[in-house]
Amino acid sequence: MDRRHFIAGTGAALGLGLSRPAWAQAPTEVSFYFPVAVGGPITKIIDGYAADFSKENPSIKVTPTYAGTYQETIVKVLTAHKSGTPPTLSVLLSTDMFTMIDEDAVSPFDSFLKGPDDQAWLKGFYPAFMLNSQTEGKTWGIPFQRSTIVLYWNKDLFREAGLDPEKAPATWAEHLAFAEKLTKRDGAGNTTQWGTQIPSTGFAYWLLQAMAIQSGAILANQEGNRTAFDDPGALEALTYLVDLSRKHKVMAPGTIDWGTTPRDFFERKTAMMWTTTGNLTNVRNNAKFPFGVAILPANKRRGSPTGGGNFYLSKKAKPAEQEAAVKFVRWMTQPERAAKWSIDTGYVAISPAAYETAAMKDYAAAFPPAAVARDQLQYAAAELSTHENQRVTKALEDNIQAALNGSKAPDRALKDAQAEAERVLKPYR
């Protein structure tokens, strides 16, 4: 421990009246891996948080490490776990919960949350976010950078098409009717502007799930060992998606790339798009026209799955490190910090209290789209998450793409996806 730490530690201990003498030991190290999945100076923001935390808590030293995409981060975390020295804390997809449990790499938070104060903290999050964080009666993840799907629309193009630029489609029928008016074809029959765009690479399962929820289907159970891809609601969803492109021709044919979708929107190639709230800051900075953000249209009901990343606690870390990490997690999820994180990135703030802060109220007043994701949370459901999650979602994803390309009928595609998921999940029952 260097002199600066010593003095600061003593000061903090005396000032805050801590019972444990901070000068008696070296600071507890908390290694922390995080991914970056949206634009902006994320690493700088996280490094700043870690430094601020260590300043307030000199007995703990948090070392954040940028570990790539979500996929790269879980590869690094699990490889480190297998070699014996995993990071104490990591941010991974909330849907990786079962994978982390199956690899025996994660420790539930419950044993560190004994007091009534701790329980209150746990109850402070939006319940929709806890669905992908709890199973078997334990809490395995704490919501951090979470998102949902929303609809973005171009107000100029709505006006040109004779639609009310302030009114987003509220139902599937309206969404289709609007899209038909918004699709423009030239003399040769080529489409110059599409009505709507729902991407189908990378996260096709996620977007389909939104439509399935809207049709009343729940695609996986809470234990993560059973899927319902052949549910009539799922069929209704896939049929609607395929019809938009193949029957009504208001959405580009073939699969639509997730990454270029915002660009298509900026280039006015599509008048509406469905994508993550995490793109909000991106759209705000790059759209050269007035745009709106809305809750997804309803079929039988409204709905969207949640998405994004949770904090996970390593099983192999020492108890003291785990405890320090929990303290850091609690600090990171304080309402003021959650509000700031949401404003900086576009992620949904993880607790109602965060939306009650002055900073967030001011931001939402000046920029109303920021509140849309929150308003949708009351309709949100758990994101598709099962054991062997990547294999199961790939089975669904491949078949959605096959249906969009016309090589399989929607009901055949969903039956195939369900059969593959059954084969993979059988051993987990």
Binding site: Q71, V75, L78, T99, D102, E103, D104, A188, G189, N190, T191, T192, S200, T201, G202, A252, P253, G254, T255, I256, D257, G259, T260, R263, D264, E267, K269, E388, Q390, R391, K394, E397, D398, N399, Q401, A402, L404, N405, S407
Partner: protein, 292 residues
Amino acid sequence: MTTRARDTLIGWALLAPAMTLLVAFTHWPALASLIESFYSTARPRRPARFVGTANYEQILADPVFWQAFSNNLLYAAGTIPVSIALAILMAVWVNDRIPGRTFARVAYFTPTVLPMIAVANIWLFFFTPGYGLLEQITGAFGLPSHNWLGSPETALAAVTVVAIWKEAGFFMIFYLAALQAIPPVLAEAASLEGASRWTFFRRVQFPLLMPTTLFVLINAVINAFRMIDQIIVMTRGGPDNATTLVLFYIYQVGFSFWDTAYAAALTVVLLALLGLVAFVQYGILERRVHYR
């Protein structure tokens, strides 16, 4: 100690550093994959156990593997001949005394220096339906718009084009070096005899380039099974596995599904396949290669 024994010792000592690296990072992992391919994937609640050839039987019955395999053959058939032909063409072209020769050489070689991930991101926008570069060109001729990466019929061809563009310049360097090693007297003799440019290429340059062609061919084959960066960026194997190549599938099984034993078995199959190809090329083709 005899001189001979000492020479042997020094020889091995000189070999040791490279040998250690090779054994540690190439031979041992290959062997470990082979061993692991006969076991089941270890899970914390289910340790690995010997399963014999079960993983290999699974490969035979795995439709995604077979699709990846046939995709890979098409990808190889697309990239190898075209990139070699282009490389020879470019090399012969920039070997002559033409104005701006250095500039042309640099231009052809540039794709090789750029990182594939960056390149793939640029190509992703070339292929974007509607306003991508390719669409702007075809659109100028009044052709209908096409979703190049989003249709199973064209997605594989699209990623193949990127590989060709990336590789041709690299192979050109080898041909250029080989062309410069051909004595100029041969060109003078040919022109005295009144040989046409094409005859000179067909009867003199091309045969003398055969050893280079063999070398390039082996590299091209290996690359056809090895180069997958653009798949990850551009299509992630989609739509519906239309662009899944064998190595990409191995990566997916190993690091997305965490089914390491099955990934090991797939790796062994790929290694055996490449070993066979190298054997055919070195063992059989080499004898037919025209050395001076």
